[in-house]
Symmetry: C2
Subunit: 444 residues, 2 copies
Amino acid sequence: MTKIKPSLPKGTRDFLPQQVARRKYIFNTIRDVFEKYGFVEIETPAFERLETLTGKYGEEGDRLLFKILNSGDFLSKVSTENLTTKNSAGVLKEIAEKGLRYDLTVPLARYVVQHQSELVFPFKRYHVGPVWRADKPQKGRYQEFFQFDADVIGADSLLNDVELTMILLEVYHCLGMDVSIKMNNRKLLEALSIYAGCPDKLMEITVAIDKLDKIGAEGVNDELQKLSLTSDQISKINEILNCKDLSALSIKFTNDTIGQKGIEELNYIFSKIKDSHVGFDITLARGLTYYTGTIWEVLANNVVMGSITGGGRYDNLTEMFGGQNMSGVGISFGIERIYDVMEELNLFPDDISKGVDILFVAREERLIDFVFEQVSQLREANISCEIYTGHPKKKFNYAEAKQIGFFIEVGDDEKSSGIFRIKNMNTREEEKLSIIDIITKFKK
Amino acid sequence: MTKIKPSLPKGTRDFLPQQVARRKYIFNTIRDVFEKYGFVEIETPAFERLETLTGKYGEEGDRLLFKILNSGDFLSKVSTENLTTKNSAGVLKEIAEKGLRYDLTVPLARYVVQHQSELVFPFKRYHVGPVWRADKPQKGRYQEFFQFDADVIGADSLLNDVELTMILLEVYHCLGMDVSIKMNNRKLLEALSIYAGCPDKLMEITVAIDKLDKIGAEGVNDELQKLSLTSDQISKINEILNCKDLSALSIKFTNDTIGQKGIEELNYIFSKIKDSHVGFDITLARGLTYYTGTIWEVLANNVVMGSITGGGRYDNLTEMFGGQNMSGVGISFGIERIYDVMEELNLFPDDISKGVDILFVAREERLIDFVFEQVSQLREANISCEIYTGHPKKKFNYAEAKQIGFFIEVGDDEKSSGIFRIKNMNTREEEKLSIIDIITKFKK
């Protein structure tokens, strides 16, 4: 076996124990809020049939899917012509049937149709797990990253949109993050395109507006010009984009049923949610094509970072898998960005990666038996502890690196007296206690 | 977009909410025990460089690795000769650089070498996650399945072997499973091969003995004969395999240093663990080649199922990645089998997939606002609840399927009086309570 230098595929990461602890803190915080609101967790496999994934994310998405090579003698049945012409696209269909999931939404659509008879509706599910994209890796962008999605499937009631907004507020409150939750409604963008006299260009206009954060108002106007819109159309679009509130918009859309519907929907939600962190923003567009109602985007205040959560209401999630038309509404948390924001703003509680309550060190090898007996008693009482078995010189390093709360060294004195000097690793204070005292002190 | 029938790749599974809840119960139970003993969690990516994985699991293992196709025009640089001769093995090297992880052990070895300077030793880590093998799917065998591994790296002390045995006992106690923990030591198998005069055949003999459960004593003897052992050698092997305890073995191995060392190691462990669920079994062999000391296997009593946990001590985990020689000891829980046993023996607690505390139903659409206000007050007090937004006829179905504890229907009477009839979904009993009363009743 030749020795190889250990390394990872580009765009992937290992997580050290402290990072895992912090990630779990984020996951568990979000999880607890969703469960409080009645969401249940599902899981799907890492890979799906390519048939399921292909064509769902546009041409670029198809390109970014990781494909899994068929097992065995995968070339045996490939057409010779495709091989000799090195036709990668043609050969691909013949040698790969599976791909790694690209997001959690298409798997959800497949899942709901496939298990429809086993689920109750409205189906309120959350799903957390890695997804994979063969994107060019760069700072903050990975080929493997985690999504945390929650959706309500099969319920038209806007109350679900209200509840998802409440959940966003509660999650970020629990994480201690100061955020701005921007909301809009796709119907208002549709009304905008009608107002400007170019309803046929709705998607293109939406995509252009979505870039506002990145390219600014002038950039958006450049994009709009590329769509061959007249200057009159562009100025009408800007007229709408400059509306700061729903009443201003309502005047513009007086005669537009779709616009009025969008305003009504947002007014309903805002009537139930009075929180200064939530606001209307007509320039919020979201890139995804399938949204048809409410859309959300969450930004972290006091830090430069893109959207940390996004979501929206859609009408036809399950149609692509032959399911009856089921509407839904959902949000997706960007875990890596939330992590980065929390790290930058120092928001992780100190005790997240706290180690066991007590580390025991035997001064001599022969005392190990005695130490083991003490530790067994503590564990019996459900107190977490470790017996150090590493190099004697590194014992304090070990206790500090693992953020262990208390430290006890056991020598012959301790063995004969049954009294232990227990050292608080934070305050450096020492107490002299028997095992019974220690159990009393630590028992939860 | 053509409609496609939703389905999964063979050998993979979706998990329904109740299954996820049960799986989490298993994961969290094991996790809690490991953390009590000072183990920390790590994560590694789903895929590794093929260079990292290939050659670590034997020829069969290499075949069973899922390979990921390189992105883009993957054929462009492939040698024409390999293509025209349809040389799958040759082409493979040119079109795939990554593979899905096959277990959590090789990623651990890579991780430890790669992050050595960032870790403290003894490194006590656990890792839970899916692994993938292109095995022929069959009952109980999947292409994607979960492993839950824990290892102590960089510590020779047998105290770690003791602690892992304690952990096995505690985990299965917490899960409510009656198990038999069989233990042996690879040094005894080495001594056995010396005793039989065929130390050069150690691995082959080990593999043959490992099949005892499946093929019986006669089957093992057939296997041994295939190794061209003499009948005298085979009878000497059987002589050892028939030893029921360490003292009987000690007599056989009087003059064998390795045998005596193995006995001494096991005696040390047994001296600390007095539990009728743990026993010595000289016929326990374990298939894996790299074990050199203690080995474990756990069987569930009262049910027909293979090993549900296995493990052992090894000397050279990190050598393959150029790390300094680090010994280790670890165990691996077979999550799918544990799940199946617990389901068969009905060991999952009933409240695992319990839904929210209270489901609210508005009798009329116009009462939703009022209901939302009540629910918001309860959530403020951290009481979990849902507002039903589905079809009125299905409200009880919904409450039952989601195992919701209590049910409240709100009509005009409730709105005007502020008093709610709250129905216990298990006992069918009803109480009349105000929101304040409800908060008092449910507040944790």
